[in-house]
Subunit: 415 residues, 2 copies
């Protein structure tokens, strides 16, 4: 019998809680131009205030507020228009008593002025006089220095993945280099006597090394640096030395295990024989994906993936990605994207004692988005390839009925 | 007055319809290991059938169907168990009359056998005899060669962005290299006398070159290869020669324009002076983003972005990304991801005569996800940085009421 059956299966939540023990990888400094998508390793304080000078927050006229005192529709005040402040340039002159300068939103408030009268409460007369029909208080319609960003304020906290607009703001503030976490290096080993390289012709019962390519592309998409360590035969010494070599180079080791029980036991034995190794998880309550292994070798994690390609892909989505994100230094964050609500198009039975991850294909029919379950053995990749994402049937439920509104977790974020 | 006012603003749909005239960039062949996220330039036919041999689709026993004829709960048939077919290995022997081999889902059907009896309709007796309590038809519980993928069938069509699982399937079939579109090379020019480099201290009215960094990170995220062409002063000859140089190297040129009307007119004049140039769009009915320019120079597109950083960022999301995807060869596809439904937390007025794109921040409150509009002038980046995505108020509507269910288009797909 399968020795895994006698080991208690751990739930997804239990596995994720173990990730805290693995520290994020170290930091490096990079140029802003190469920082898109990287994860900040240190808080970034604002080196300057934004705006650095007072700016108009409305289109209108720069005035001394006291000059507008008492102005109203029935009692307008009159100011002399001395010219215009161009956008993104210094004002041509200061505003003296009884004077005004036209200015657009965002332009620099001229010296002497302390408020802006909005366009709609004014009229320009042909003689160059401005009619002001509303009084303004000092500071009205003006963005004060530091009002948007205070100098020294934390712009972005460590753990944030930098978006394009973040780079724009950092560039505007003159931040040319940032401290980011290294991209985690991820070694990918394929184990199993039946695995042959991509360019080989598989004999009877042999399969090409597809899991390594699949996992490498996932690691890349999620911000890691994958490297393929090749195929290791089902041999204790070979497996142990390949794992030790991988752990020297990598921050995370993925072993795509042989699919037979014997091969799995061998992988487990090889892991346990590594100095400082501790097996933390040996079997998870997830379908597909039961024969998953998580071990710590010193401070480095090792994830043993199921041999069936679709199982390996789903375990990577559900357990591998959060592990990589932990090592990447990414702060826990609400996840709003990457999912879409859809109606389940048929009844789905759950897996007793396991959380069930079902592949679905989306289909638009009028206003309704249907999720069609794509069934098929986890040894085949094409059902996965035909799917757009996954639906989870929670542990301890009997299944989901046709017509149920489900949340589809999209592959590649749905792009 | 602004000369753009006299030009008819074009709607988003009108602009997108113009993209058909720009051909996708050329193709290149890459190793499968580097093909993740790339766009296929040619259909990929399956070089082999999947499975390439008959496989069990259930755990059970390989049999000759005729040997089970007449079997039922009250009248079991008995077969001799000759051993087991291991997963992913050749069967140890053929199945002769009256014989059977145990086999797991996915294993190769032994010669002689033509069906599989499911485990639950059998019992193994201590003497090595199998009791079969149900008859099977030939082919039952067997996946025939080519049933999953037929040889020569189109696995993936040109225009598909390759997902990790696609690489897995291609690897399984021995496809080592694929034809993909080149990544479009995107030149980014910043024009404007008021723009200073990142490492400079801006004088009064000057700003650092933030738009170029923002646009470069967007291009990178969307699969292009950005390169910064630097800052060009507001000078016709300098602008024209910089544009011509950029067009030689790039598949797409982005010009982040000066924000003053004079600077915009200069950019337009420089574009029009290029040999083979045709201005297609000069002003769009989108807020923010009105002063956007689209031109064709020969077969290459040139996109003139508004000078205000937040406007430039939003125009890139709404118009720049589809243009880049067109050049990338990406096939039009349903877009299910990258959005989330949320309740609008306050009334929003629309922009008369323009489609309005409003920045929003998401906030979870119990079971409700609120979209809080983040207002602020488009000259400031921090409101954009504080936002999680955009909500669109359609052209010709007065706005959206508080409590309305809106679709939030997430930055970075929500990841």
């Amino acid at each position: 019998m399968n020795p895994l059956e006698f080991f208690r299966l751990q739930t997804r939540e239990e596995v994720l809680a173990l990730y805290d023990r693995f520290p994020p990888v170290g930091a490096e400094e990079v140029d802003l131009a190469g920082a898109g998508g990287r994860v900040l390793a240190a808080d970034v304080p604002a080196p300057e205030a934004v705006p650095s000078f007072p700016r108009a927050s409305m289109d209108g006229y720069a005035v001394r507020a006291r000059d507008t005192f008492g102005a109203g529709p029935a009692a307008p005040q009159y100011l002399e228009i001395k010219g215009e402040v161009p956008m993104a340039a210094a004002p041509p002159q200061a505003v003296g008593p009884g004077e005004t300068l036209r200015l657009p939103t965002g332009a620099m408030l001229p010296a002497g002025a302390d408020a802006v009268v909005m366009l709609e409460y004014t009229d320009e007369h042909p003689d160059g006089t401005l009619e002001v029909r509303r009084a303004v208080a000092p500071g009205e319609n003006v963005l004060q220095p530091g009002e948007d960003v205070r100098r020294g304020e934390v712009l972005f906290a460590a753990g944030r993945r930098l978006l394009p607009q973040d780079l724009g703001l950092l560039a505007a503030l003159g931040v040319a280099r940032v401290q980011v976490f290294r991209r985690p290096r991820v070694a990918i080993l394929s184990s199993g006597d039946e695995i042959v390289p991509l360019n080989a012709s598989p004999g009877p019962g042999q399969v090409r090394d597809s899991n390594a390519y699949l996992a490498a592309a996932q690691v890349q998409e999620w911000g890691g640096l994958p490297f393929l360590q090749g195929i290791v035969p089902d041999d204790f010494a070979a497996l142990k030395s390949a794992l030790a070599a991988a752990l020297k180079e990598a921050d995370l080791v993925l072993v795509s295990g042989g699919s037979s029980v014997g091969a799995r036991d061998l992988t487990l034995a090889a892991i346990q024989a590594l100095p400082g190794a501790q097996v933390l998880v040996h079997g998870v309550a997830i379908r597909p994906g039961k024969p998953t292994i998580l071990a710590a070798v010193g401070e480095k994690p090792l994830l043993g993936l199921p041999g069936h390609p679709a199982s390996a892909a789903i375990v990577m989505e559900v357990l591998g990605r959060p592990l990589l994100e932990r090592l990447s230094g990414l702060a826990p964050r609400p996840s709003w994207g990457g999912t879409v609500p859809a109606l389940l198009s048929r009844n789905l039975a759950g897996a007793t004692g396991r959380e069930d991850w079902v592949r679905v294909r989306l289909r638009q029919e009028g206003d309704t988005l249907w999720a069609d379950p794509v069934l098929g053995p986890s040894g085949l990749l094409s059902p996965l390839v035909k799917s757009h994402g996954l639906v989870m049937i929670p542990l301890g439920t009997e299944g989901l009925p046709r017509g149920e509104m489900v949340t589809v977790r999209l592959f590649g974020g749905g792009d």
